[in-house]
Amino acid sequence: MVVSRPWLHGFLDLCLLAMLREKPDYGYGLAQRLAAAGVADVPGGTLYPALLRLEQQGLAEPSWGPSESGPRRKYYAVTPAGRAELDTQVSEWQRFRTGIDALIVAGAENPR
């Protein structure tokens, strides 16, 4: 499924924070996890600004780590403020999803 950009934009922070709560990660690793989950192929020009924004808002904390090969990597970990934000966004997402599910079910039960 190709997710259009405005939609992705609305949920990208939520996805990133959720993944970082599972374990700290660096940009490219997060992109791969998003793709593997089937959510989206997030272009670098969307992903990295979002990570910088999380850092700037104090929702994620960076630290430099080595890599097996190549240059060092910037790993992000979720902060307590990031967890609180994630909880808020998760409940918003659940409300949103419940609403859409209700619309779909209504259409499936009463087709015309």
């Binding site: 660096y26 940009g27 490219y28 670098g44 990295y48 924004r53 190549g70 990597r73 409300r95």
Partner: protein, 268 residues
């Protein structure tokens, strides 16, 4: 650093980023490209565009999922415009509610100004329908003012057209001008004003009668940096006051300030 990185850093500086921060962002961006094993231009696109994009991303809050919406002030449904056989606009849909700012963007010649004139009711669309609120303020890209009249005389004249008493029109005009860091000089005809100041006059005249819907056609051309920021602050205070605003712009970094973007794409 590669050519891309230095172009990126240069553009950040040009956009007003502090040198230390620009260097830091350029280095991080280079490192991000390296961890993806990609060339920066294939990952991020042209350096100058990415610089603007990054800055607007860093300033934008996440889009809320729902929430209260104001009444519709402007609704375009399937609006099209043809001049003889040339199609300028086709199937444009746009809804702007009270408390929202919409931007109309696109290349030069793609019909941005035509669309705004249709919103204002100054140009008839060939197809589709336009609903708009009664009180509309329109700020054209240029002109709209009379060279031989002073700012005060403009306030009086435009105020009269909206049914305002002369004194109230003048004091409102001066108050609005002050918000744009401009104090009109008495007895100075408009033709002696700089281009940027004339645009401020246009902006004040568009707002004089407290419209519910403001239509602005790149109204800040010739503004210096400070006034440009005052302008967007002004747009936000309109929005917070529950007005609907439509801005035509070709500046991508303006888009951080708006709720909707309507992209008309390339020139027709």
């Amino acid at each position: 650093m590669t050519g891309w990185d230095s172009r990126f850093e240069t553009e950040l500086l040009r956009l007003g980023v502090q040198p230390g921060r620009a260097r830091q962002l350029a280095e991080e961006t280079a490192q991000q490209a390296a961890e993806c094993a990609a060339a920066p231009d294939s990952l991020f696109g042209p350096a100058h565009l990415y610089a603007r994009h990054l800055l607007s991303e860093l300033k934008t809050a996440a889009v809320p999922l729902g929430g209260a919406k104001g009444p519709v002030r402007l609704r375009l449904t399937g609006v099209g415009k043809r001049y003889r056989r040339r199609t300028v606009l086709d199937g444009v849909n746009l809804t702007v509610r009270a408390g929202e700012v919409a931007a109309i963007v696109g290349a030069n010649g793609c019909g941005k100004s035509t669309l705004l004139r249709i919103c204002a009711g100054l140009t008839r669309p060939t197809s589709g329908s336009v609903q708009r609120t009664r009180r509309v303020g329109f700020v054209p890209q240029d002109a709209g003012t009379a060279d031989w009249l002073t700012a005060d005389e403009h306030f009086t004249l435009f105020g009269a057209a909206a049914g305002m008493a002369p004194r109230r029109a003048r004091s409102t005009g001066e108050h609005l001008a002050a918000r744009l860091a401009w104090r009109p000089t008495k007895s100075q005809p408009t033709q002696h004003l700089s281009g940027g100041t004339r645009q401020k006059l246009n902006l004040v005249l568009g707002e004089l009668h407290a419209p519910d819907l403001l239509l602005l056609d790149e109204p800040y051309q010739g503004f210096d940096q400070g006034t440009y920021l005052d302008f967007w602050q002004q747009v936000h205070s309109w929005r917070d006051a529950g007005r609907a605003v439509v801005v035509v712009t070709h500046l991508l970094h303006d888009l951080q300030h708006v709720d909707h973007v309507h992209d008309l794409g390339a020139a027709q």
